[in-house]
Amino acid sequence: MTQAGWISGWRKPSVLPGFGPALGTTLAYLSLFVIIPLGAMVLTTFAHGWADFVGAVLQPRVLAAFRVTLLCAFGAAALCALFGLLLAWVLVRYPFPGHRLVDAAVDLPFALPTAVAGIALTSLYAPNGWIGALLAPLGIQVAFTPLGILVALTFVGLPFVVRTVQPVLQDLEREQEEASAILGATRLQTFTRVIMPALAPALLTGFAMALARGLGEYGSVIFIAGNKPMVSEIVPLLIVIELEQFNYAGAAAIGTLMLAVAFVLLFAINRLQRWTRLQHAD
């Protein structure tokens, strides 16, 4: 079979014009901005051979950084999902004075330079800061510990969850909840059986975006984390440190592993999301 025949068999007829240009543009864009840079990084890594890669990655300091980054990103994404849902709920369901202001403020972490956020959080949570001073007598130290990383990542991740859940919550018919109540369900049953299943796909999307952001976040974390090796040092910082020491191969190796981990995680979440959507057959 000729190539044209193969393509026509694979491509379903469509009323939308411009398939060729659209696919071409997409691929060119993806290549220039995503695939080529990432590919170059992977190539650099393996130019030095597999043994070098394993050697660069399997250092205790690197593994500790991965552990801190993953745990904090997961924890922060979970917190974001919880509070983002709550925030979206309040914004959609309860009209209150200043509603619009709060709604606009949700996006601030998107716009704020992350370093500014990091410095602000640090000065608040440092042992002599406003909040840090309150927590210090309780024996809780936030700034310069992994807990600080969690706070920073929650800050930058929150808008993702709010902005994905909010529109779905807005579209949720009030009548579904009324129907649920009339059929005898309590508020809790209505929430778990009617509202949550409808929100789950959006919430999962928000969670995945917050997680992805948390894995790659650099600016806000380095100020508040304290960056103690083995304790509160994150992977992106480690890469910068390697670069500053002109260890390009080491930096590329860590970057490649980071890329692989992130891809696997996001892919898994994507599948999970697909599964929940199928469950709900939307």
Binding site: E175, R193, A281, D282
Partner: protein
């Protein structure tokens, strides 16, 4: 007979606007009651107050002698069918119907197998058992409607409430479902209240009709009562086609503005509005008659005419064979007899029947009585 639901002095305001204004109503056990009115008449608000989804500003709602207001919506035991069904999109048809049985407190919950059995019985009742595993968005509008009904019936409600049950369906499906709902009600016999703005639907389906306007009840009665003896000008205009004729009553005769007499009326004087249904007007050949045929639409069993009488245009509907016998056409003159009508003198709350100028022939009155007592008034397509 004690009332299943009794509503006393229910008032509900939205801002300055009164959606319901001192409504009293009794719903009898086992009946199918229609709340009929134009949009904004307060009928849906009343239904939602009965359900417990909304609260009146004042007044009481009693269910079988008990104060329903003390009970939360989930404890009232009502079935509610929403206009847009409000099916749970992430649940199959089966799960939707089972929902009300599954959320019961553990002590009252039926065993799993018993729930499955009841759901299948209900799905058979609404003839949808073969769709049990589908999701709502895979169903047609009529099927969704029936799922919503099965879901509402699953909790064995003491009252079934339906908000514009056929509003979102196309005309043909609507007619089928209406017949089907009527026979379902005859089998299940649950006290039911439905809201509609479609007079034909209310008159065909309901045991009794409640006509509402501006947050008040205008009339309560059987379909035949509200159609044939409307309590107010509003009811007359809202139920079926009608001619609204301004006239004055002098010497026992109702006269149009130019003095053309249209009927007899005892005991009143002065200006009044006469309501005359198109099929209550008969025509007879007369070369010098007072009526002039202005427009003819004679397709189908009824000939729809516009006749000019005394300077006003009157809609007239006569059987097609009478029209053929009349042998008249557009522009011809005819004699016009108003066989029946209702006069509403100014500031009167009740209408006064208007008699024809000449006593009706025995055959005609026989036909008219038939119309009244069969409870199936003649309708004209709009």
């Amino acid at each position: 007979m004690t009332a299943e639901i009794s509503i006393r002095g229910v008032t509900r305001r939205f801002g300055a606007q009164a959606a319901l204004d001192g409504v009293d109503l009794d719903v009898r056990p086992g009946e199918l009651l229609a709340l009929l009115g134009p949009s904004g008449s307060g009928k849906t608000t009343l239904l939602r107050i009965i359900a417990g989804l909304e609260w009146p500003d004042s007044g009481t709602v009693m269910f079988g002698g008990q104060d329903a207001m003390e009970r939360h919506v989930r404890e009232r035991g009502v079935g509610f069918v929403f206009q847009h069904y409000a099916l749970f999109r992430h649940m199959t048809v089966f799960e939707n119907v089972a929902f009300g049985l599954r959320v019961r407190p553990r002590a009252q919950r039926l065993p799993r197998a018993e729930i499955a059995r009841r759901v299948h019985t209900l799905l058979n009742l609404v003839q949808l058992d073969w769709l049990a595993d589908r999701y709502p968005n895979q169903l047609s509008g009529g099927q969704r409607q029936r799922v919503a009904l099965a879901r509402a019936l699953a909790i064995e409600p003491r009252v079934l409430l339906l908000d514009e049950p056929f509003g979102a369906l196309d005309a043909k499906v609507r007619k089928e479902l209406r017949r089907w709902l009527r026979s379902l009600h005859e089998n299940v016999k649950v006290t039911s209240v439905f809201v509609t703005h479609d007079q034909e639907e209310a008159l065909e389906l309901a045991d009794r009709v409640v006509v509402m306007a501006n947050g008040r009840i205008e009339q309560v009665g059987t379909p035949a009562e509200v159609y044939c003896t409307p309590a107010s000008a509003f009811v007359h205009e809202f139920l079926g086609d009608t001619n609204r004729l301004e006239c004055r009553v002098e010497g026992g005769r109702a006269l149009l503005a130019d003095g053309t007499p249209i009927g007899r009326a005892e005991d009143i004087m002065g200006s009044a509005i006469a309501y005359v249904r198109p099929h209550d007007v008969t025509l007879a050949p007369a070369a010098d008659g007072p009526g002039i045929i202005r427009h003819v639409h004679a397709v189908g069993p009824l000939a729809q005419l516009v006749v000019e009488l005394g300077g006003v245009e009157i809609d007239v509907a006569i059987p097609a064979d009478s029209w053929a016998r009349l042998g008249a056409g557009r522009g011809d003159r005819v004699a016009v007899t108003v066989q029946a009508g209702t006069l509403f003198p100014q500031r009167a709350t009740r209408g006064i029947p208007m008699q024809p100028l000449l006593p009706a022939s025995p055959i005609l009155s026989l036909v008219r009585n038939n119309t009244v007592y069969s409870g199936r008034p003649i309708h004209h397509p709009e």
